[in-house]
Symmetry: none
Subunit: 193 residues, 4 copies
DNA sequence: AATGAATGAGCGTTCATTCAT
DNA sequence: CATGAATGAACGCTCATTCAT
C-alpha cells in the first residue's frame, strides 16, 4: 500500500531504458535510422509507443544516448589497451587488438555509425562528438608512431586509420564471410612492423 | 504541329530521364535517400511529380537506375586504366589512379553508395549487383598481385581494397580538408612498391 | 507515528485540493484549457500526476470545481455590495464597484471564463450554471432600475450588462494599458446617473 | 488527353480552398481552434487529410487565412458605411449599423475571434494584425466624436467600443434569444444622440 | 495519501503514389 | 508527353488516464 521507493523506481527506469536502447540499436543498425519507426522499436521492445517518450525526449535523443553509450564503451576498451610506460610498438599492436575487439563486439553500433557518417540530417552535436573522439584516437596513434621514430607519423596514423575504417566497413557488409582475424594480423605485419 | 517522330520522342525521353537522375543523385547524396522526397526531386528537376512515374516505376526504381549508371561509368573508367600486356605493377598503379579519379569525380555517387551499403532497406538486387562488381575488381587486383609474384595475392588485394575504401570514406566525410593526393601516393608507395 | 485523525486528513485534503485548483486556474487562464496538460499542473503544484485523480475525477471536473469556486466568490462579493433598504441608485453604484473589484481581483478567472464562453467543448452543465448566475445578476439590476423609475428597466439592465462585459473583455486583453478606473467612472456617470 | 489548363487548376484550387476554409471556420467557431482537429475538418469538408496540406502549410496557417479573409470582408463593409463629407453623427450611426451587420452576418468569425483573443498560444502575428485593425476603427470613431464636438472623444470612443464588444459577446453566447436589433437602437439613442 | 511508470487513442504532418485531363 | 490535385497510410509525438505499490 505504500508507494514504491525511489530505488524501485530507479531500477525500473534503468532496466526499461536499457531494453529500449538495445532494441533500438539493433533496429537502427539493421534498417537505418530513418527507416526505423518509433512504433517498430516500441513493439520490438514490448513497451507502448508513449512510454518511449517517458525515457527519451525524441527519436534523435534516443539515437544520441545510444551512440554515447557505445562511445563510452569504446573509450573504456581503448584505455584498457593503453598501458603507460610500455614499448610504443607494443602499445600500438595492443591498440589494434582493442579496435578490432571493439568493432567485432559492437557490430550494430559500427554499422549505425557508418551509415550516419554520410548523412547530414543527424544532429550536428552528435557528429561533432564523434569527430572529436576519432581525432583524439588519431592523436594517440600519431604520438605512438612518433615515439617509434617514424619519419612521417601523421601520415602513418592516417594510413592506419583509413585501413582500419576500410576493414571495418567490409567486415560490416559481410561479417560472416570476412576473414577479419587474418586482416588484423596483416595490419600488424604490414603497417606497424 | 507535325507529329513528332519516334526519334524525337526517344530523344526527349532520354534527356528528361537524365535530368531527373542527375538531380536525384545530387539530392540523395546530399540529404540521404529517405530524406529526399519525390516532390523535392521533381521541383529541382523542373518537372511535374506525375512525370517522374512516367520514367521510373517507383522511388526505389529511380535509385536503382542511378546506381547502375554510376557503376557503368566506373567500369568504363577501370577499363581505361587496364591495358593488357603492360607491366602488372604499372597496371596496378594506374588502377589506383583510376579509382581515386572515380571517387573524386563522382563524390555524390560514392556518398550515396556508402550510406546505403550498411542498410538492408535497399533492394537486395542492387546490393548483389554492387557486391558482384566489387568482387570482380578484387579478382583483377588479386591477379595483378599474383603476376607481381606476391606470396599472398588474395590478402594483398583485400588489404588494398580495404585501404582504398577507408580512404574514400574519410575523404567523403571531409572532402575539403582531406589530403587525398598525398594519401594516394602513400598507398602507391607503401602497398604496391 | 500516531495515526492521523479524521480532521488532519481533511485538512490535508482541503489544502492540497486548493493548491491544485489555484495552480490550475493560473495555468488555464494563461495558456488555455486545452493547452495546459495535467502533467504541467501536477509539476507546478508539486504533486504527482496520480494524486490529481485522487481529488478530481477528470480534467473537466477540475475545471468545473475551479469555476464554481470563483463564481461563489463572486456571489459573496455581490452580496457585500447589496445592502437592503438603501437608495436603489446607490446600490447600483455600489454594485458596479463590486463587479469591477471582482474582475480586477480575479483576472485569471475572467480570462478563462471568457475563453470558454464561446466554445461548446465545456461541459454544458458548467455553462448552464454560469448563464443562470448571470441572469440572476441581470434580474437584480433590472429591479434596481425599476425602483429608480426607469421607463425600460430591462433594456437598461441589458445595456449596462453588455457594457461591463465589454469593458472587462478589453481590460483582459491588455490589463496593463487599459484605463479601467476611468471607464468605471464613465459607466457610473453616463449610464446610471 | 491533353493536360488541364492553368485556368482549370486555378478554378479547382479556389473552390477547394474555399470549401476547406468555410468548413474550418464553422468548426473552429463551434468547438474552438485547439479542439478542432485537422481530421475533423477534412472529413467535414469531404477531402482527405493530406489534401489540407496542399492548400495550407499548417493548421495555424489555415486559421490565419480564415481570419484575414473575414477581416478583409469587415474592412470592406466598414468602408461602405463611411461616406466622406457626410454629417459625422450620421456617419457614426451608419458605422454602428455596419458593425452590427458585420457581426450578425459573420457570427462564426466573431465567435472564433473572441475565443482567440484570450489565448496566448495563437500566432502573435495574427493577434498583432487584429489589434492594429481594431485600433484603426477606434481612431476613426474618436475622430467622428471629435467632429461632433464631444468634450472627451477618446473616452466616448472607448465606451462605444466596449459596449459593442459586450453586445457582440452576449449575442454570440445566445444568438437566438438576444434582442440584438433593440440593442442596436439603444446604442444609437443612448450613446450617440 | 501519494508516486510515477505505463498505456493507447489521437494529434499535426509528410509523402509515395494515382489519376483525370 | 505532361500536369498537379487528390489519396491514405504512416510518421513522430502528446496527453488524459490507470494502476501496482
Amino acid at each position: 500500500m505504500s508507494p514504491k521507493t525511489k530505488e524501485q523506481f530507479e531500477a525500473i527506469r534503468s532496466q526499461t531504458s536499457t531494453v529500449i536502447k538495445d532494441t533500438a540499436l539493433e533496429l537502427f543498425a539493421e534498417n537505418g535510422f530513418h527507416n526505423t519507426s518509433i512504433s517498430q522499436i516500441a513493439k520490438a521492445a514490448r513497451v507502448s509507443k508513449g512510454l518511449m517518450y517517458n525515457y527519451f525526449d525524441s527519436k534523435e535523443d534516443l539515437l544520441h544516448d545510444i551512440m554515447m553509450d557505445a562511445m563510452d564503451r569504446g573509450t573504456e576498451l581503448m584505455n584498457d589497451h593503453l598501458k603507460e610506460g610500455v614499448d610504443p610498438k607494443d602499445q600500438l599492436l595492443s591498440l589494434v587488438d582493442g579496435v578490432f575487439e571493439w568493432i567485432i563486439g559492437n557490430l550494430s553500433y559500427w554499422k549505425l555509425l557508418a551509415a550516419l557518417a554520410f548523412q547530414k540530417d543527424v544532429t550536428s552535436q552528435l557528429k561533432l562528438e564523434i569527430l572529436e573522439k576519432s581525432q583524439s584516437y588519431n592523436a594517440i596513434i600519431t604520438d605512438l608512431f612518433r615515439q617509434m621514430g617514424k619519419a612521417e607519423p601523421e601520415k602513418e596514423a592516417m594510413l592506419i586509420g583509413a585501413l582500419m575504417d576500410g576493414i571495418g566497413m567490409q567486415y560490416m557488409v559481410m561479417p560472416e564471410l570476412y576473414p577479419i582475424d587474418e586482416m588484423k594480423e596483416l595490419v600488424k605485419k604490414k603497417i606497424i612492423e
